[in-house]
Symmetry: C2
Subunit: 174 residues, 2 copies
């Protein structure tokens, strides 16, 4: 698929409610268990998505539109949530994420992006030249891949409970 | 995690609404594209989940409770949906799945499962001896892993659109 702004927005606007449905009021072990040392729980993933809303997607879009290739993006801290989420309930995090996403979608609309603007180039600190449409495509894939991570982490909590069926469930050994 | 009936039900009851949120009224390419030859689209996955509700989980639970190890399960046709879903809209499939799941959760409650019943053994045609709690754990992991498949298939539609970010998105090459 080629990037299309309407296609992308249709995914981005669904993510908060999808996360609510998957995680709201879920019992502690489903929420807090991870895949082992240095891996993330579903709770951790929501904090990571919040940090992306605050520092990554729309701020980088604005850097591309304002400064083009002349100013590299601020590097994104993938693990900021371990400090930032401390003491917050999953309900609070889900609400924060939903509010930030709604605001960022409003900001996105305000940018009035045309095909010309979507082709504008920016400078990623490690990846080099990228375009605005590549940034927005990555926002979509980032959402979906973290939903995939959440359900994979949850699957693995039942890795032993499924018994012999493990042989039919590649997700458990991925 | 050990299997606990309440934990399992808390996942099983969320799946229809999660699928609705992800897929209802989604545009055709997100819904119908797959990962290449002999792979499934999100639309296909919903049909597969419907067939599981009709022929796999509760029917097998009843075989275990009624006949134990004396009667092997009927083999499950993983690809029945290619015929069965024909001509149906995604909205129709999502509605069918939600109705079947709600009915199956009612059936599950009616079984009044105790720890003794959950430990009862049945005979899988290929895997051999399995228990009822392993069957129900597999139902949960099956749901979650197919949600993961749906979002992975969707991610891959933007495999080119993300440009250089592909290097940071392992989901695109999995």
């Amino acid at each position: 698929m080629e990037f299309q702004l309407e296609h992308a927005k249709d995914i981005l606007r669904r993510t908060p409610a999808t996360l609510n449905l998957l995680l709201q009021d879920l019992s502690e072990p489903w929420l807090m268990n991870n895949e082992g040392p240095d891996t993330w729980s579903p709770y951790d993933v929501v904090g990571h998505l919040i940090h992306g809303e605050e520092t990554d997607w729309i701020p980088r879009a604005k850097i591309i539109l304002d400064d083009g290739e002349n100013r590299a993006f601020t590097p994104f801290n993938r693990e900021a949530m371990f400090e930032k989420s401390k003491g917050k309930s999953i309900g609070e995090l889900l609400k924060m994420f939903a509010q930030l996403r709604a605001e960022n979608l409003r900001q996105l609309d305000k940018l009035n992006l045309t095909p010309e603007l979507l082709a504008k180039r920016g400078l990623h600190p490690e990846l080099g030249i990228v375009t605005l449409s590549q940034l927005l495509s990555t926002w979509v894939v980032h959402d979906l891949s973290h939903i995939g991570q959440i359900v994979r982490v949850m699957c693995k909590q039942y890795g032993d409970a499924v018994g012999p069926w493990k042989a039919y469930l590649p997700v458990l050994t991925r």
